[in-house]
């Protein structure tokens, strides 16, 4: 009988922390981007939309490789972070956060954009005639109406970060408690032929992923209607 060991717990905790912070940051960054994409008539809508969707298409190893180079000591972002006295990001927890935010961006922005699109102009115009300011309109009209979109975005952003592997492998350096997340831990076990431990974590991941998606489809009214 194999028990879940301390390294496993530490990897799980690290993964949960990473996914939570990433999801919160994605709400902060992704909401304005999605709102802009849903409302703008600018020619930039196409390019920005494509940029946001890139991680859906690019292999994670490509993203990871470029992040490693760009955030490294000779890369432009690495030079900037060094000049700011932050050191370089690869091999750190916050490096993983940056990578995850980029990598999971489309999973948050796209559901939000769809939700904002679906609201349309009408409720906002009505609110405006009742003298609601732009911020007021956003918080009292848009947010409640777009709630299913936010739930979908949050769940997908979180789950996708938990399932992230290639990017973390490339920029993480597999450091216990800092960058060794569950997916990397599973990979290590498989590579080291420790299949029993691998099964424990892998099965846990499978059950978690299914449960998350099941909850999403059961309770999200948007999903149910479809």
């Amino acid at each position: 009988m194999v028990t879940i060991s301390d390294p496993a717990f530490s990897a799980i905790w690290l993964t949960v922390r990473l996914a939570t912070i990433t999801t919160l940051l994605l709400f902060l960054i992704g909401t304005p981007i999605a709102w802009w994409l849903a409302r703008t008539r600018s020619w930039l809508k196409g390019p920005v939309g494509a940029l946001v969707a890139l991680p859906l298409v690019l292999p994670p190893t490509v993203i990871g490789f470029y992040l490693l180079v760009v955030m490294g000591p000779h890369g432009p972002i690495g030079q900037l972070t060094q000049a700011l006295g932050l050191g370089v990001l690869p091999f750190t927890f916050w490096g993983l956060v940056v990578g995850s935010v980029l990598y999971s961006m489309p999973f948050v922005v796209q559901p939000l954009q769809n939700a904002f699109d679906a609201i349309g102009e009408r409720p906002l115009e009505v609110a405006a005639t009742l003298r609601a300011g732009p911020w007021d309109r956003f918080f009292t009209v848009v947010l409640p109406l777009a709630r299913p979109g936010f739930i979908t975005a949050g769940v997908l952003g979180f789950a996708h970060t938990v399932g992230e592997f290639g990017v973390v492998l490339m920029i993480g350096g597999n450091i216990p408690d800092k960058t060794r997340v569950v997916s990397v831990q599973i990979y290590d076990h498989v590579e080291a032929l420790e299949y029993a431990q691998a099964h424990w974590l892998a099965a846990g991941m499978l059950v978690f992923s299914f449960a998350v998606l099941l909850l999403l489809y059961l309770f999200n009214p948007n999903g149910r209607r479809k």
Binding site: F65, L68, G72, G173, N174, I175, E191, L193
Partner: protein, 248 residues
Amino acid sequence: MQHRKFIFLLLSLFAGLASADEVQVAVAANFTAPMQVIAAVFEKDTGHKAQLAFGSSGKFYAQIKNGAPFQVLLSADGEIPAKLEREGAAVPGTRFTYAIGKLALWSATEGMVDDKGEILKKGSYAHLAIANPKLAPYGAAAIETLKNLGVLEAVQAKFVQGENIAQTYQFVDSGNAELGFVALSQITKDGKLIKGSAWIVPSKLHAPIRQDAVILTTGKDNPAAGALMNFLKSAKAKGIIRAYGYDF
């Protein structure tokens, strides 16, 4: 006529290009560069074609056990070929050591690594890249070396681990880790250092990195598999292997 050509092209997309005298070879990541040269010479000399796949030996083990179509394995260690043989997945009696790997402490920066490896003790660096010692023989050899130098405890906190030796190289090459233990074969060409500075770890500091090859049961009846094994033992192949910084 045009139609027929088109249909043939379409069908060949699905069929792939299979030829009788072709051997599928799984190659340990550290042996990538020399094997590409060897495969080219092998093809020219014998007419057989070697299809190469590069990766870590642990992954190859899992894939072979689950029906991967590899016919020859060039492992980074001696253990996995022996294990495959015990488990009936490799042809008994075909196992042999094709190369002994050499470990090097390397930095992409000129003049950073001295020729005695003293920099390890000075500790004037933030990250030391090693291959995962659980998975890669070069990683295990690095740990053994550090232990024998008496600095393992001191440098442990600076470890960043690549999942294989190729990724470890990438960490150092991109400058993200100032130092790293890599395979000498990765940083030399024709006996010369390609860039940066390095210390070739004396082989008395760690157990020899014996790299074994074996014919897998799927390749038992493939003449190209046997031919490749013989070719690896030839003076010609050994010359190439040595030029990349391996021993025998």
